[in-house]
């Protein structure tokens, strides 16, 4: 029995794209996996937590810093 392994699947997912946006687009060396956002999590809270079949993208401090810096210019 041979399992066909997609060479793409060996490339790690792109953390920027997982958050929502990656400026490198098709030139990115990491994988951009199209996924569906959980609308409950988008609203603020989803009781499924890690069991949810849709994505709960994690925000990180870097974005907040970027937005603040922009506001101060």
């Amino acid at each position: 029995l041979y399992l066909h392994v997609d060479p793409q699947s060996r490339i790690p997912p792109c953390p920027n794209y997982e958050r929502g946006f990656c400026k490198f687009g098709p030139e990115c060396t990491k994988r951009h996996i199209r996924r569906t956002l959980c609308e409950l999590y988008l609203a603020g809270f989803c009781p499924e937590g890690p069991e949810c079949e849709k994505v709960h993208p994690k925000w990180s401090f870097s974005e907040a810093i970027r937005i603040r810096a922009k506001g101060e210019v």
């Binding site: 956002l37 609308e39 409950l40 999590y41 988008l42 609203a43 603020g44 809270f45 989803c46 009781p47 937590g49 890690p50 709960h56 994690k58 925000w59």
Partner: protein, 60 residues
Amino acid sequence: PITQVDLESLEDKPWRKPGADITDYFNYGFDEFSWTSYCLRQDKLRDDYDSNKLMAVCGF
């Protein structure tokens, strides 16, 4: 669509369990306390601020 879940209606609060990551459940840095106060405020503002409108603006 129902976008706000009433925490009180949930018998089981899995994010309180040891090892649980609260950010798996709550977005925007919310916790139980701040999420409840946000929902209360949303209820108050519902007339002039419809969360469905915001969803539409966001493209969802």
